[in-house]
Every structure is written in C-alpha cells, then in structure tokens.
Amino acid sequence: MSDANPDATRPLGVVVGGSLTKGLEVRLDPGQTAQLGQYAKTEVGGGLSILGMVTDITLKSVDSGPTVWPPGEDEPALLREVLQDTGVYTALAVDPYLELGENGEEPARARRLPSHFSAVHPADQDTLDRAFATDGPNIPVGAPLGMDELEVGVDFERLFERSAGVFGKSGTGKSVLVLHLLDAMLTRSTAAATNSDRTVALVFDMHNDYGWEMKFQGPSTSRLRSLKQRHQTDIELYTLESRAARSDGQILIGTRDIQPDDLEVLRETLDLSDLAVDAAHACRRRFGPGWIDEIIADEPSAAVVDRLWREPPEGDVNWSQVAAQMGYPGSLESLRRRMERLTRREFVRTEGSQFGDVIEHVVRSLQGGKSVVVQFGRFGNDLVSYMLVANMLSRRIWERYRDSTERSEEREAPNRLVIVIEEAHKFVDRSLAGQSIFGQIARELRKYNVTLLVIDQRPSQIDPEVLSQIGTKFTLQLDSDNDVEAIVGGVSGRSGLRQVIAALESKRQALVFGHALPMPVVVQTPEATNADSARASLRARLGLPEREETSPAAALFGAPPDSTPPGDGR
C-alpha cells in the first residue's frame, strides 16, 4: 500500500449493493482510485453518515463478453477506454463501522445502510477527527493511510485494561512499536498521583530491546534509547547473566524453587514426555522440595533409598533400580538427564531457594509503581531459559496480585500490571494453553489487575481461545494466510480485514483494531528517533503538561520506596 492522493472533493463512487454483515459494494467512479485500508463515508439520511473502510478492490465485468474476448493489444485504444466502467468496472468492498451524527454526538456502531446509488466520498480529516476523538489520555500510533495530517491515538485505559497483542513477521517493527507503547505507559505512570494509579510493566525481554538500548537500523543511529535511558528511576533492570552491565539485580532460581508445575509448559521445549512429567510429580511427592537436587546426583542418596524401600536392596542402589521401584523405568532417566542440563545454567543454583527473594523484590518494585525489565542476555536464544523464567516469575507474581486483589477490601487494590512476553505462541499454544499461566491471565481478563502484552510472529500457533481474549491487536505484515486468518478469525463479520492485512507493507505499517479503538485503522507507525522533539506531543496526548515535572506523588511522599534488588549483579 502506498499513499494515494484521492481527490477528496469528488465522490469515490456509488453504493450498488451490500449488507451490514458483509459490507457495502461500491462502484468506483471512472478516474478515481482507492486503496485498501482507506476510509470512505456516505450519507444515510437524517443527518447521519456512515464511516467505513475499503477492505477489498475487485475488477468486475458486467457480463462475460469483455472477459471472454478482451480487447487485444492491437485493438483501438478507444475500445479499452470505452469498456472501462461500462463493460468492466472497479468495485470496492467497504465495511461500515461507525455512524456519525451531525451535531458531534458520540460515534456509534453502524446499524444502518445507505440507499442504493448514495455517493461515497473519501473520508475527510474532520470526519476522522471526530471518529477517533478520545476524551481521555491516548497513545498516538501514527497517521492513517493517506492522511498524514492526522495522528490516531489508542485509548490508554482501554489498551491496558484488557490484554493486547503486537503481531508481525520478523523485522516489521514489532519491537520498536512495543517500545513506543511502553514508553507511553511509563510516561503516563510517572505522572500518576499515586502508585495504585500507575500502570506498570513486567517485560520479559528476550532480545535485550527494552532495557538500556535497542538495536536499530536507523539513518542516523544504530541504537535507540530504550526504557532505562528514558525513565531512569521508574525502571528496574534485572538480568540473568551474572556480570551484566547496568543491571539492578540478577534473577536467580534455586533448584528448590522449581515445581513440577513449572515444567509442564516446558514439556515441548525440553522434550519431556508425559510420563517424565508424571515422574517429576512423583519425585516431588516422595523426595520433597529438594527433589531436583536428589535426582541430579550421580547416585541415589540414602534418603532417596529410604523413601522408596522399607528394606533396601543389597549393595549400592543405582538409578535404574530407583526408576523401576517408582514405576517409571525409562522416563525417570530422561527426566534426570534433562534436569541435569537445566540446572547447568548459571542462574539456576543447586540446593538453593533464592527465588523467593527475587519475587519479593520484583513484586515490591511493581506494586511500588516501577516497571521491571528482565533481560535475558545470551540466554535470549535459549528458549528453555526464557520460558522457565517468564513462566515461573509470572505465575508467582500473578498469585501475589491475585491475593492482593482479593484482600483489597481491607487494603488498597494493587496497581495494574501488564506482562510483556515475546514468542507468545510458545507459552499459549494449542496444546498447553490450559496449563499456562498466560492462558489463564488472558482468560481472566482484568480480574486481578494483570493483563498481557504479547508479541508474536506466528499468531496462528496461539491457542485461538487466548487470541480471542486479546482486546487490542496491532498487526504488522504477517508471513502466512494462516496467521492472517488467526488474527481476524475472532472478529465477527469483519472478514474484510483479511485483505487489508495481506496488503500491509513490510515495515512500520500496522492494522490496529479492537477494544481501544472505535474502528480499525491502518497506520504508518510513528518514526522512532532518539530526539526529544516527539516527547511534548506524546505528553500532551497522554493528558500531561508539556514539560516534565516532579510527579505529585513524588512531591508529596517522595519517590516510590527504593528496593534493594537481590543477587550479585551491579
């Protein structure tokens, strides 16, 4: 899709058919052009107009004649010219979305159809201004196609009140867009009056994008300033590597912290059979919290032997005897080998339970109004590490939020938490969405003040039920029809968006739709820069004074309590 310059004063064409569910059919006027994703409007009488989006463009012929005997190259040009718009014509599919009144009423969902032969015009700036007007704070997400003057904003509250998703194939601009959204979130939160008014993020940063800086191919820079540089005091940076620069703390997991439940989601990644997972449960039951340390030992310990035999067998007991005794002949061995490999990672500490401290600090930071970025460093390429940490942390933090919410009659409800995960389909794929904490968070909506921001290249792999719970979707160019289908599948009667997604350009062009917007929009996402010039307008859109000042909360109570992060980082 490229920018077109349709003559806004001339009609695009006339309505020749359609339905509310399938959209309008509009015959394009000769000489006019239209592009996918463009807005069009038409009157329905009573001062109402309908605003819709061009979701398909088809070449049609009145009867089969011209298509069966198309004018050849050597035919007079007149014949071709005459057949345009008579024998053949261009039809637009326009999905009606909004009904706009004359007197500035709230736009409503389109429930009327224009009559036959109503003129359809390209939507003007004024109409779109009204359609996308928001009272509250909003995050600018770019200009609609062909309307560079206008910047559409997604409603801040609505965006984070339900889960959201950013989808697109590699290199389309997902990370840059997510950085923009998180930057806006933090900018707004910093200025909030109290901690509980703040929306905070827990970011599982697989590729080191959201901490200090982001790798970026820009004309003037190869690094984009990221969250820590933009919001020094409102971000806490945790790393998995022990001696990482600029870290505020290290994530450490003790073997005693890992529950068999935590392995369930790793089933596929770790290549664990169902039986092996059963064996893990059995080991936990028999050997207690230290079960991993027990099973990764070279020889079964006396304690293990004691647990399994009333009368131990003669001589040294080996693991295959243990496995046989437990009833998991092959699978215990495979579980042992995998646990051994799992625990070789430097952030996993044997015979320890450091995780409780980590959780404590992270929860305190989050509920204290700070966002937390967990950087995976070189573990970013290790899906096992990513999933283990993201899953273990999220589950436990979600439980804390759940408890705080349930006790909130006595105390203040916790602030809103948005958990950001990449490669989301690994966590909530069709086979394990049931067990995954992320599936649960998506399904429970905002019951416990926790929502998701998922980033994914392959939405078709995500459990459709989870996908359907995602309120606002930012869709960049996708790889396959399956992925496109997955994104629009849940949108009732709006199959036209399929073509719109299929026609997106390969970078920075996104279809945004759902909970936080009155109607779908195709935007060119805002240019990412390190310059501060964009900040003033961002702040204005977020309902903040143009210049940064000390937040009322900080002025009254001082900065949020500083938590000393655990671990040996720094």
Partner: protein, 183 residues
Amino acid sequence: MRAFECAYARYTSEPFALGQMLVVREGRYDTFGVVTGSESGPDDPSRPLVPRGDPGQSAAAVMASNPEIELLLRTTLTVAICGHIDREVARPVLPPMPPPLLAEVQAATNEEKVRVADEGRFLVPLLANPAADDAVVAAALREVAHAAGPGERPFLVAAGKELARLLKAEPSRLTSILRAVEP
C-alpha cells in the same frame, strides 16, 4: 453501372453522406436525423436507365453531355430521427410530431450536431431504428466527433460508453462499431 452514373451529378452538387446529420428547421421543433441510406433511380421505374457515353468517358462528362438524365432521376434518402431542439433546448429523443411534409432538409451545423448528440445520448433513438445498422452508427459517431473539433476524443469515449450500455447484450457488435469508428 451506367445508370448510376446518371445520378452522380446530383450528389456532387449536394452531397449527403451516410451517417450525416440533417435538420428540418420547420414546424414547432427543429428535427434532427441521421442518413441511413439513399436510393437513386429513374423517376419512372418502367423505364430503366440504359448505358450511355463512350468508353473512357467519366461520369461527369457523360452527365454534362446528357443534361436530361438528371431530370429523369430521383434520389431518396432515408433518415432516422435522433433528436430535436425545442425552444433552444436540445433533446436527444424523438420529437412529439414528425416534421412537416415538403419541408426543406438541410445539413446540421457542427454546433447543432454536438448539442443534439449530447455525449452519445442520441444513440438511444438511433439504435431503436432498425435501419441504423453498424455502418450508420459508426459513421454518425465519426461525423459528430469530427464536428466536436478538440472535443473529438472525449466525445468518442463518452459516446462509446453510452453505446456499451446500450449494447451490453451484444459485445461483439459494440466491438465492431468501435473498430469502425477508430480504425
């Protein structure tokens, strides 16, 4: 062939071409029509023309040396009505009444042709007349287009579209007419 020669002199003095637009400026309306055919022959069908003149002599020369021939021949034009002008307003539809008998038929001016043709709408009454075959329609379009001067191309496109709508059931006819218009 010779008999035809006799009639030729009349054509040279007042040539009416196939598809040409004519006007009758008498009666309540100016009535416009398109020449769909002409028939020439002796006034008295019982006395057919006989060949005259010497081998190698041109038709004009034969006429000149036999001035009586002209008086014996009649040329009848058939004209399909395609519109009228009613008090300065051009309407590409049949007039309510036919033109008066014995009224004089003249060639329409360029300006009149373009007005009456009305971007091709004159094709509606024209095509309704079975006498207006493909050759006539193509000739009429060429004639008006020529009269339109710089507006020639836009007229042809607009009229072609009108024609396409009228002939939507006969795409091959549309094609052959347009081929004849713009070879």
